[in-house]
Assembly symmetry: C2
Homo-oligomer: 471 residues x 2
């Protein structure tokens, strides 16, 4: 191994075991240290050499791992020579920090070297005036493409698509297409593409031919005879979640994007869709725990901002639960065992509800809940909650009855838990389904309603039942 080609442990070599040889994606600490040393010395050429040998994704990783001051200095030193794809791969916070350190000319230089989708992705983070100042330094064609892209909604197909794609008229043959591709300057074609699109004279999309089909066909084959239909037409306004669904459903590697008239306007590739899928997944998993956003480089302030709204809302709902408990203050004063058992009721019923909620949110995200499947799912949640409720409540009732030597205490907690489990299971599926119906994100909007109502009902039924039975 030499330092130059094996900057990343295991890169192109054969790691014998993931742990020892370093899993892929783990930067060797020595690489980071060496890079930091070059930054300290202000040795611009050495930085450029180091980066030249790295894949942009690995350069991004390296930048992410630099201490804050070395990071700033490195961005300063490199500025317009920063590899644009590496900057595009950075996490949100780091990318913003990098852009803030760069000059307008530096950003413009990067923009010129990117596809229009990546270019608008970078510029999207900048304030209006800074964006204008950067765009003023970009060629007119690139500027027009980027401005068109930025005009679409942030989470739309229009934003995801790149303007670089290969289209051929429907009346061409394979040979004409190949000759054409060889004749145009390679700058005019996208760096990588998997299929070409077939259009009519009005540039309306007719179909596509995968390169693996094109390459096997004899030269005089008409494109028309080997082209296949496009599974689902993706319009520029389509939400990225829908686009991701189409890619997954039809196992696509790329897809054309059309305007209202069905004219070909761009191409979306799977790497951007994988990012969308990860983003949607991240949003769901964080939202279920009441976190708005998170990232390795998030500041404390931004972490506080991302989490305190949920905690604040929870403070209100928790005091509502306290009010319910307070209603039964007299009962608790007489039977302190009830206070002791409150954590069991709240904890278990809350968990049953959160199970149902998570299963539902995930099923909605995977589009498993529509039509007749909804009814089946609601029935399953109700029955599952009932079975789990009876089992868990019986156990809780038994332990409580033995502990406090009182069958009635066992009856109170058991009865309350069966009822609240059933309620938790139903509300855990019905609330997210309703949110979905009203066009609200079920992962974001459901938890507070589901968990609060379970707490309130749980305490009310438990303490209420205890008051009836015991006093």
């Amino acid at each position: 191994m030499n330092d130059a080609s094996d900057l990343r442990e295991g890169n192109l070599s054969v790691p014998q075991s993931g742990e020892e040889a370093g899993a892929p994606g783990v930067l060797a600490p020595a690489v980071i240290a060496q890079f930091v040393a070059s930054v300290d010395e202000g040795d611009r050429q050495q930085l450029l050499d180091a980066i030249a040998e790295l894949h942009p994704a690995d350069t991004a990783d390296l930048l992410e791992h630099l201490p804050a001051d070395a990071f700033r200095k490195a961005i300063h030193l490199l500025d317009k020579d920063l590899p644009p794809l590496a900057i595009a791969e950075l996490s949100d916070e780091t990318r913003l920090a990098a852009l803030n350190e760069q000059t307008d000319a530096g950003i413009a230089a990067m923009i010129e070297r990117l596809d229009s989708d990546d270019a608008s992705f970078l510029l999207n983070d900048l304030a209006e005036d800074r964006r204008a100042s950067v765009l003023a330094r970009v060629s007119a064609t690139d500027r027009a493409a980027i401005e068109t892209s930025l005009a679409f909604d942030e989470e739309s197909a229009g934003r995801l698509m790149q303007r670089g794609f290969v289209a051929a008229p429907v009346f061409w043959t394979v040979g004409q297409t190949l000759d054409h591709m060889r004749s145009v300057a390679s700058d005019d074609l996208p760096e990588t593409f998997f299929e070409i699109y077939i259009v009519d004279p009005a540039f309306r999309l007719q179909g596509s031919v995968p390169l693996s089909t094109l390459i096997r066909a004899v030269r005089d084959t008409p494109l028309k005879s080997i082209m296949k239909d496009v599974a689902v037409s993706i319009q520029r306004e389509m939400h990225q979640e829908e686009v991701a669904y189409v890619f997954q459903q039809y196992n696509l590697a790329s897809a054309p994007v059309v305007d209202e008239a069905g004219r070909l306007t761009g191409m979306i590739t799977i790497d951007d869709i994988v990012d969308v899928i990860q983003e949607e997944n991240r949003e769901d998993i964080l939202a279920l725990s009441g976190v708005r956003e998170a990232g390795a480089h998030q500041s404390v302030l931004s972490a506080v901002r991302a989490r305190i709204p949920w905690l604040g809302m929870n403070l209100v709902t928790a005091f509502c639960a306290s009010v319910v408990v307070a209603i039964f203050q007299g009962t608790i004063e007489q039977v302190v065992a009830l206070a002791i058992l409150m954590p069991v009721v709240a904890g278990l019923c809350g968990n049953a509800g959160s199970q149902a909620l998570t299963v539902t949110v995930r099923a909605i995200a995977e589009r498993e809940l529509d039509g007749p499947l909804i009814g089946r799912a609601v029935r399953r949640e109700a029955l599952t909650a009932l079975v789990n409720g009876v089992v868990i409540a019986s156990a809780a009732a038994f332990v409580a009855a033995v502990w406090f030597q009182d069958v009635l205490i066992g009856a109170a907690i058991g009865g309350a838990m069966v009822f609240t489990f059933l309620f938790a299971g139903l509300i855990g599926i019905l609330v997210p389904l309703a949110m979905k119906r009203f066009g609200v994100d079920p992962a974001v909007a459901s938890p507070v309603l589901v968990l609060t109502s379970i707490d309130l009902i749980g305490f009310f039924v438990f303490l209420g039942l205890a008051t009836l039975i015991l006093l």
Copy 2:
């Protein structure tokens, strides 16, 4: 629109608005009804016609939406004529149900038409003896390929890879490669591929050439001059999570798989990786709520089995929390306000911990936590918990003091909450990091430990502090 080509609303047409025209992926109810009618009439030909017009993914969707008895009858009627790719796209439960209804000959007929990775994916669900009986009906070559695939671990690159790929010797030119691909029978090439692999005479992988590069090169270009290095070499034993990471890091659409000696043995394509990514995401989000698995067609029994272990464990830990409360029984008897405030302490501190836990589990999954980033993240969690703790605890203390007209009660809840928030933030990040270090899945193993310890500490500090201050 006619029924034949627009079975799926919005298919190849231009939906004006997602809601009205039906989002992609939503089957028209009429299509399902018509299919069910054909099943009832036992009209095999009509079923075949309907399926012939659908994309396999849409056929899978259709099958998922059939009532249970129509589903069974449809599988019976179609058996060996079922489109294999549609069966492969079914959810786990439905796929198993379909295979159970099919004859061995029917499954064998499907297997013969699938790539080896999809074939072993289907067979993996079958019991040992049934699998043997199906394999006995498959051609010797296919059988060997499938048996080799099944010999790898279920979540390994060896399972994900297909044996169909295109390789060319390093000394060939572009022209030779194109001629070769045109000359071989199309059955011997994979249906879709995005790049060809370059090997030395010992079949050791040397690099790859994307089809989009190949197609632009002139015929006498040596492959050697246009081939690019493989970013990270994927071995057959590599875990699918690692493979997915490599695909995401380097924006790959496909990648070669090699054996210990670096010889090319297979190819993995992005559509399988997207499935892996979704599977890993699903596992994490469900595990954080204590659900082992879920699916649209899960039975109540299987849902109970997937959820009751967590509830059972929780019952034990909740009673531990009760024991802590019981220690302070005397205090609660004297100051019943403490029982009333318990839901606030438990709810808020639990949520703060679950926020930290989820953020950490997600960061680990996205590989954002390694090396120097760990220290930063722990510091951020501690500070975030402290800031949130001080803000939320102050509010809680104020409300409690006013409500119960007692500053000391406010002091008890405020002090306890600040301390427990800090504890929750730290344990929320340290436990999953430790689990990761010990090779245990952080999403599965962390929640019970994190949430239980927060409950215990929260109650203990709150009631303990109250006992010290108030009595």
